[in-house]
Amino acid sequence: MTSDEHGLLKDAAAGDSVALEALMSRYGSRVYRLAYGITRSAADAEEIAQDVFLQLVRKGGAFEGRAAVASWIYRVTTNVALNKRRGKRREVETSLDDCLPAYEADGHRAGSRAFLVADWSARPDAELLYGETRRALDEAIDRLPEHYRAVLILRDVEELSNDEVAASVGDSVSAVKTRLHRARMALREILTRTLGPPA
């Protein structure tokens, strides 16, 4: 972004409440979405948003104009949220391995034919985003490691490029793509187990 965002950041850091309001309006929900996506807790996401915006106004005056404000905000949010999650992850997360595709020695996927060809993609949103399927989707997202959830939010919700996600989470593009692909595959697998025939 843009010079006007850099100006807003500097004005907010100088105590301009109008600039602060504009930043909150522009980034409040984006920070909340990412923080909630990583922590899966509204209370934690609220604390993180407070911490992030406080950092913006305290450190924004020293922000280097070469970088995008959005990337910086996403990076601060990711760091604060991951720090908050530290020590909690074992409580709620398990291995993803049993949610990834399994293969035969010849490269075909393993599993029953009926399960392998199950295609629920044409079902309407009303069926997929509510009720049992929505619960399965939320539980599947809960199972993802927090770094995976971070890239899922930044790539698939905020629609950043792989390069922008990598800059925001402080990882390589290759690591971002691996996590994103594994996250989508795990969610797909769990949805198929919920919606399709038995594996």
């Binding site: 909150m24 595709p101 996927r109």
Partner: protein
């Protein structure tokens, strides 16, 4: 000739349209003859959209008000 494993490994690049034309053509040839991979691609694509829809939250208004108050007390 690509296997199902090969196809699934590069689906992320296929959706991003960053495969070379040769690899994309190989993948599409495989898809034409493989019903499980067609189902996988369709449900993978839909999963991407569903995950995004499920995660597209807005900060609740009362939380915005608390955040505003929190910051004004410390900055203003």
């Amino acid at each position: 000739m690509m296997t199902c494993h090969d196809v699934i490994d590069v689906l992320i690049d296929y959706l991003d349209q960053v495969l070379t034309p040769e690899v994309a053509a190989d993948l599409e040839r495989h898809l034409a003859g493989c019903e499980p991979c067609r189902a996988y691609l369709a449900t993978y694509r839909r999963t991407r959209a569903l995950g995004a829809q499920a995660a597209r939250l807005e900060m609740p208004d009362e939380m915005k008000a608390r955040l505003r108050q929190f910051l004004l007390e410390r900055v203003g």
